[in-house]
């Protein structure tokens, strides 16, 4: 088939997962191995802010700017009042000199205010974005530190969203919410103090009037956070379904299911809209409620104030002044309810990011105590190793084997026989439940990661490539490798003719996930990559996919040369790999049921002989 067609159809399948998942970036409702932090909202906020020191760096100065900017808002109303009272209504008629001076001072103050407002905004943007970048980095790094087990149980899209949209959710709050919350709190405090100076009874009354709002907001917030969660879930589902119309384009057309797919799209789009409108209804309910509470507070003050006045406890001037002060109290109160809404979003984002950070990486580097392995062919030992997946059946049962340095071992067995787990334990992608895996007699858990990863290299089944050039991908394991070294490696593996046949050689772009190359070529790149890494123990999970015979031959040749002089363990799906091995381990039901050379095993009746005969039938 053609190269472009390959790119395309390769995308159809492989990307069915990642691409459709991209749609789920926004989704977050599915059960996942990563917990969502269960801390209270306040604790989440505190921990979240603490994670990024940038959020609070220079905050004091920002608050000063913010205070000036806030106070500056009253400059013009005050100027208007002053000019009218003193400049125009002066008994001597309009005083132009006074007005001119007042206007000049006010204009200067307006400019100062604008500058402070700019300085505050700019500082907030900078602090926020820097803090978010730090948060992204921390979460990203932690995702990579998680075990494969945890990584695999998560959808890739969901993991990506933890470093993208979840983090973005925090930004609005940090850009204006946080600072306004501080200012509003200050304003509330000042207003309360001033009001108390005039009348403590009325101040108490104002606070009592607003209590229902505070409780109402708390209660509403719970509903709201559920409603927002629903929106994110529905959005994730919707994007998944829309993704199907793109990624599944060929299948949908081949089976003529356009109409049905369109109905599915409609249903999910409408469900999303429904959830959005519902959440909107809840979130907007706060403001009218607050307006009515404010009206009630005014009414109560008027009635109570008049009574107090009649009783002689308050003068008319004091009551009027008090009514104006209440305005000063209400506007931050209204603002605070809005900010709480926004905070809900930010806290949800932080919870999900913290959820990642709180998931302990179960495969940890021993750190400073880690031991270095010496270079040279390595021996492998499995000392009574058993393994069971969390809440799953035992997949490896008391494996006790020894592999001599330089030996080439093939691992065979049916799907589910435990051969993949065997390999994962060997590369310390997982740790055994019981027993120990030993390299040169040292427990893998005691080996420093840097030493382990440089001496043990695994070539996974899917030769995943990064969207870059061939050379970059080969160099992935050892970035300092020169082009000459890579050329030498390619030649050594007998792939010179293949690389020579590519128009751009090492500069050939491989496309997303390497899909501009054929499956077989991707495997070749993975083999060269492993060769350049120059490990002492090579672990291979052979690809099952059929490749065209010419590439197949190249893979075989490269494999032979790659394993030369190294200890190697390969999960074999090909007869030829088993034939070429020094020893074959036959897995069945989590145990090694047969071991020996191909020539010996094929003669005795058993699992291996059965496998062999079906191989022979299919590739004869």
């Amino acid at each position: 088939m053609s190269a472009p067609a390959r790119t395309r159809s390769g995308r159809d399948d492989a990307s069915a997962t990642p691409r459709a998942e991209a749609g789920a970036d926004a989704g977050g409702g599915t059960p996942s191995a990563l917990h969502r932090s269960a801390d209270s909202a306040w604790a989440t906020l505190r921990r979240g802010v603490a994670l990024s020191p940038e959020f609070t760096q220079g905050l004091a100065l920002t608050v000063v700017f913010a205070l000036v900017a806030t106070v500056g808002k009253i400059v013009v109303p005050m100027a208007v009042q002053q000019i009218i009272d003193n400049g125009m209504l002066d008994e001597n008629g309009a005083d132009l000199g006074f007005v001119a001076r007042a206007v000049a001072v006010s204009a200067a103050l307006v400019l100062v205010t604008a500058f402070c407002s700019y300085a505050m905004n700019a500082r907030l943007y900078k602090a926020t974005e820097s803090g978010l970048a730090t948060l992204r980095r921390k979460a990203f790094r932690h995702v990579h530190d998680l075990s494969v087990l945890t990584q695999n149980s998560e959808r890739k899209g969901a993991l990506v969203s933890r470093v993208t949209s979840d983090v973005d959710q925090i930004s609005t709050f940090m850009q204006w919410g946080g600072i306004l919350l501080i200012i509003s709190a200050g304003q509330l405090l000042i207003a309360t103090v001033l009001m108390t100076v005039y009348s403590w009874q009325l101040t108490l009354l104002v606070w009592v009037s607003f209590l229902p709002l505070l409780f109402g907001v708390r209660w509403l917030q719970k509903l709201l956070s559920k409603a927002y969660l629903k929106v994110r879930e529905r959005t994730g589902e919707m994007l998944g379904v829309i993704g199907e119309t793109v990624v599944g384009a060929a299948v949908i057309r081949a089976y003529g299911t356009e109409e049905r797919t369109a109905e599915r799209v409609d249903a999910s789009v409408l469900a999303t809209r429904g959830a959005q409108v519902k959440a909107q209804r809840l979130s907007m309910a706060v403001s009218p409620f607050a307006e009515i509470v404010a009206a009630f507070a005014y009414s109560a003050i008027i009635v109570a104030g008049v009574w107090l006045g009649i009783a002689g406890a308050l003068s008319a001037g004091e009551l009027v002044a008090f009514l104006f002060l209440v305005t000063l109290f209400i506007s931050p109160m209204m603002m605070a309810t809005e900010i709480f809404n926004e905070a809900q979003n930010a806290i949800a984002g932080w919870r999900r990011v913290l959820g990642v950070l709180d998931t302990a990486p179960d495969i940890a580097d021993p750190g400073a105590a880690g031991r270095e392995l010496p270079r040279g062919p390595v021996s492998v030992g499995f000392d009574h190793v058993s393994y069971a997946y969390p809440s799953g059946p035992t997949v490896l049962d008391d494996i006790d084997v020894e592999i001599r340095p330089g030996l080439r071992v093939a691992v065979v067995g049916e799907t589910g026989s435990g051969k993949t787990t065997f390999v994962k334990l060997l590369t310390r992608l997982m740790d055994p439940g019981e027993g120990a895996v030993l390299l040169d007699g040292v427990d893998l858990r005691e080996v420093a990661f840097s030493s382990l990863r440089s001496r043990v290299v695994m070539v996974p089944q899917e030769g995943f490539l990064f969207d870059s050039t061939l050379g970059d991908n080969i160099r992935f394991a050892r970035p300092e490798a020169t082009d000459a070294e890579i050329d030498a490696a390619v030649a050594e593996l007998g792939l010179g003719d293949w690389l020579g046949g590519l128009a751009h050689g090492l500069d050939t772009p491989v496309g997303q996930r390497g899909e501009s190359l054929s499956a077989g070529e991707r495997q070749l790149v993975a083999l060269v990559r492993a060769y350049v890494a120059d490990p002492d123990l090579l672990v291979l999970d052979e690809a099952t996919s059929a490749v065209d015979p010419a590439t197949e031959v190249r893979i075989q040749r490269a494999l032979d040369r790659l394993t030369r002089g190294r200890t190697s363990v390969a999960i074999a799906h090909r007869l030829s790999t088993a034939e070429a091995a020094d020893e074959v381990f036959v897995f069945d039901g989590g145990r090694i049921v047969q071991r020996g050379s191909h020539a010996d095993l094929v003669k005795e009746p058993g699992v291996y002989a059965d496998l062999h005969s079906s191989w022979v039938r299919s590739s004869a």
Binding site: R155, A316, V553
Partner: protein, 639 residues
């Protein structure tokens, strides 16, 4: 890996404002009533806000002051005051609620409407169009672009309500004193200039930030996708560095945008304030000239202070406008895309296998696709959202292909990588139309058939398996009315029965991204069952068992022969020799043309290319024997 950051340099469109207005007009025309209610709510809120000041003043004068002077008050007076205050509160709440609810409704409705439209367009456009557009880009068209387009709808009613207020205020000012009004209005050109400058500077910066945002997501996606490689090669540190670089580029771009917004917002607030001061200054002069009364001046000053809020609401809308225009253009590019599959009226008759033939068929792909960034809001595409596609270099994949698939026969399609095998399969089931030549089905041009005729009678199992986010049953039936017995029979034939039976909810188990995860081989077997359950008259398998163990593959292909498919015409794209040998006839494709056809034995004998290809394994064995000998020597050297 090395994410070359494309310095986004979209053509700065000075007409962003006009275009933005046009986008908003699209929404207003689509949802006039929702919009009207939202604006009415906004106007009510604004009006009551203005009125509330005089209400409080009235109450002070008529209730509070008399009570203090007389030392007593009446219940009626207090009740009236409370009633007035509460009425103001309720009206304000009502206006605010209506504005926010309906503004949200409008935004969500427009989003839903365009997401449906975009998805329907995706379904309608031909496969060849899809092949030219990266999936990531199409997804972001339906997602973030739609969202960006309708972002300004949320503050729009408030802005419009405010404009209404502004116009009323302006009219009042003009009536009171034209000279003062004109002085104040100097502010507006200043606001206009500020806005134009802001839009010009922010548009490219925001577009760039948007591109960088998607790059951060791409790096994360790729890195997590390749987690196994990263982990097994111990490259976590360098990957984190790579991600951090992308995150920092985004941070810097966002800070740049932020700094502009940080300057714009205070400016919008300061200008009307300076206007008020100017009015006061000139006003006092006019007052001294006795051109106006004190009351007039107070009123104008008050009206002017009211302007601050509407101007800010306008600022919100204007601030979102550049992103909205970019988003809308990208959405429009999809909605305006031309293409569709034309159908005739012909009907397929009979029940037997189809006779399918290709005559002089040629096909080519545009080269542009490979290596294009998935989301290129700033780089690969122009601001106007056009996907640059036509007119580029093309790679010919098939030329002058003649082929005949006889009813009920099994044909194997063999050829090296890049020979055009997959493309040919898509032509035969009419997923795409040939550029030259024709594909005939039962003697009639495939283009002549009525919609559904061919897709109901044919089944293609593509190389890549696509599983819908749906139950096993629905993934097999795809909504067709097929009973469970038939589904199980198909699963049995595809050797998928046992693993489906072992799934927690059997046929009802949800698959796809939110469901059980299946291995590649299991997915392929489901895709096969999906094809088999339809008892197709033409079955095309494009390397459909590549991820299945050879032994299982042999069982499946053996099963096909025995099954109820004897009447069906079958085409198999094959690599493995065992598969090839199942076929009645082999077609050997090389470099886009049919080189030879015949039985396996015949081709082996007379076609050197074919011979080389299918005997490569044997060559490999010889090669290995030589290598093993070398290796033994190596090993001895080590010991």
């Amino acid at each position: 890996m090395s994410q070359g950051v494309t310095t986004a340099k979209p053509a700065v469109d000075s007409r962003v404002f006009t275009e933005g207005m046009r986008v908003l007009w699209v929404a207003i025309r689509a949802e006039p009533w929702v919009f009207a209610v939202a604006v009415a709510g906004a106007s009510l809120h604004a009006a009551v806000n203005v009125a509330s000041a005089s209400v409080l003043g009235g109450i002070t004068e008529r209730v509070i002051l008399p009570a203090f002077e007389q030392g007593r008050t009446t219940t009626a007076a207090l009740v009236a005051a409370v009633a007035l205050m509460m009425a103001v509160g309720v009206l304000k709440g009502l206006g605010l609620g209506a504005r926010r609810l309906y503004a949200g409704l409008m935004q969500y409705r427009m989003q839903a409407r365009h997401r449906r439209a975009v998805a329907r367009k995706y379904l309608e456009l031909p496969l060849s169009w899809h092949q030219r557009h990266p999936a990531g880009q199409l997804l972001s068209n339906a997602n973030s672009d739609v969202e960006a387009a309708w972002q300004p709808l949320a503050p729009l009613p408030m802005a419009v309500g405010s404009v209404v207020m502004l116009v009323i205020a302006a009219a009042a000012m003009l009536v009171t004193d034209p000279v003062l009004a004109v002085v104040g209005f100097v502010v507006f050109p200043a606001l206009g200039v500020a806005n134009v400058v802001f839009q010009r500077r922010v548009t490219p910066a925001a577009t760039r930030a948007q591109t960088l945002r998607s790059q951060v997501s791409e790096v994360a996606h790729e890195s997590f996708d390749g987690a196994l490689v990263v982990k097994t090669l111990g490259r976590e540190d360098t990957e984190t560095e790579r991600f951090t670089r992308a995150a920092h580029r985004l941070r810097d771009a966002q800070i740049r945008v932020g700094r502009m917004r940080a300057a714009f917002d205070p400016l919008l607030e300061a200008l009307p304030n300076l206007g008020v001061l100017a009015v006061l200054l000139i006003g006092v002069v006019r007052l001294a000239d006795s051109a106006i009364s004190t009351g007039d001046l107070v009123q104008i000053a008050y009206l002017f202070t009211l302007l601050a809020l509407p101007v800010r609401a306008l600022g919100w809308v204007l601030g979102d406008l550049p992103r909205s225009v970019v988003g809308w253009k990208r959405v429009s590019a999809v909605l305006d895309a031309k293409g569709g599959t034309d159908h005739g009226e012909a009907v397929l008759t009979g029940e037997d296998g189809l006779r399918v033939s290709a005559h002089g068929v040629a096909f080519s792909y545009a080269d542009a696709y490979t290596g294009e960034p998935a989301d290129d809001s700033g780089s690969g595409r122009d601001l106007d959202g056009s996907h640059h596609e036509e007119g580029g270099a093309r790679t010919t994949v098939l030329r002058d292909v003649d082929l005949e698939l006889a009813p009920g026969r099994v044909t194997a399609l063999v050829g090296p990588t890049g020979a055009g095998k997959s493309t040919l399969t898509t032509l035969l089931v009419r997923l795409v139309d040939p550029e030259e030549g024709t594909v005939l089905v039962n003697g009639v041009d495939a283009r002549e058939y009525a919609p559904g005729e061919l897709s109901n009678a044919t089944a293609l199992v593509p190389q890549g398996t696509f599983i819908f986010d749906d139950s096993v049953r629905d993934n097999i039936t795809l909504g067709a009315d097929i009973d469970d017995d038939a589904v199980w029979a198909a699963l049995r034939l595809a050797r998928a029965e046992s693993f489906v039976a072992a799934l927690p909810e059997s046929l009802d188990t949800r698959l796809g991204e939110r469901g059980a995860s299946l291995s590649g081989g299991q997915r392929q077997r489901l895709a096969l069952a999906r094809a088999l359950v339809r008892s197709p008259r033409l079955l095309v398998l494009d390397d459909a068992t590549s991820a299945v163990d050879p032994q299982v593959e042999a069982q499946i292909l053996g099963g096909l022969r025995e099954a109820d498919l004897e009447g069906a015409t079958v085409l198999v794209v094959a690599y493995r020799r065992a598969t090839i040998e199942l076929a009645d006839e082999v077609v050997y494709l090389e470099q886009g043309t049919v080189r030879d056809r015949g039985t396996h034995a015949e081709l082996l004998e007379r076609s050197p290319g074919y011979h080389r290809l299918v005997t490569a394994y044997e060559q490999a064995a010889e090669q290995r024997a030589a290598d093993t000998a070398a290796r033994t020597t190596d090993q001895e050297a080590i010991r």
